[in-house]
Symmetry: C2
Subunit: 163 residues, 2 copies
DNA sequence: GGCCGTCGGTTCGAATTTGAACTACATGTC
DNA sequence: GACATGTAGTTCAAATTCGAACCGACGGCC
């Protein structure tokens, strides 16, 4: 292994900015959702995915992937939502092992009530803080960062070899 | 409250990219640190801050602010580090209430061994994935996002009122 | 000098997250 | 068809996180 390439000032600023922004934004939104809708962020995301799916139902595994969370974590959160009547489970018709999480009418209503406040908070804390160029660059750059870390190894081109 | 301004496709891409990138990067680095050095990310950050401070000691509250974590969370993590002999506590000479976390020689050595691998992982997952322009824009944009959410209300100019 | 509101840290209990079993089923191969 | 291997989801214990309650100490003020 060659000498360590430490981060220069510029890179360090980006890294620290990333850390601070992600911490604060996620904390802020978590708080907003809890206060205004009594939902955690994972729970909100579950409702969103279900609402967007045909018949409002999605396989557990598919949900877990979309949430970037572990299988057991998802089981827990769906359990919480089920307790509150926002979601139901039914077994998958084409695979006996499978389970579908299903959005209930109450769940759909809860989401409809929570969404405007949450979107407003996302805008206030992130989206509307960026100008047009920043938004574009950020989407492109972070999209690449995220996709390269996907487990399926969608690493794509590693980029040109160092000159 | 006016009509909700939903996110358009462009904004949604940025938001989703942000969510995915933050999830995956933090998960990836957490894993790398645990595997290679037996440290959690908060623990690593504590060691870094201590190593950078004169005499390797920092007040608890100051540490908590730097880590964007709660006071109790910090107490816990410093406790863990203390158990492993990487950190000691001593009471602050100028304020009886205060506590200083102090880096031990073992702690300093542990950090020195962990740092190269961690920096490499930060590069591989984020920094080296960005080109020069992206790095600059990201530092600027996320820096602004983070600072606006600081509790001290360093909100700065909110920007021109909507036209 | 004594009081009052605030600060610095810890402790506590509750909620959440994770990875490692574990069960039950699906799938491909011969 | 039977078997080996992999997949879907849950359960479990352990670790971590948060906020609220708490205690002792500080500081300003009368």
């Amino acid at each position: 292994m060659a000498e360590t390439r430490w981060l220069d000032e510029h890179e360090m600023a980006a890294w620290q900015g990333f850390l601070e922004a992600t911490s604060r934004v996620s904390r802020h939104l978590e708080q907003q959702l809890k206060d205004d809708a009594g939902l955690s962020h994972p729970q909100y995301e579950i409702l969103v995915r279900l609402a967007a799916a045909p018949d409002g139902e999605v396989r557990m595994t598919e949900l877990a992937e979309g949430l970037f969370t572990s299988k057991s974590g998802l089981t827990y959160q769906v359990g919480q939502l089920e307790k509150r009547g926002l979601v139901t489970r039914r077994s998958c018709p084409t695979d006996v092992r499978g389970v579908l999480a299903v959005l209930t009418p109450t769940g759909r209503r809860t989401l409809r009530e929570a969404a405007p406040g949450h979107v407003a908070a996302v805008r206030a804390s992130l989206i509307d803080v960026l100008d047009e160029e920043e938004l574009t660059v950020l989407a492109r750059a972070l999209g690449r960062v995220g996709s390269r870390l996907r487990p399926d190894g969608a690493a794509g081109p590693v980029g040109p070899p160092a000159p």
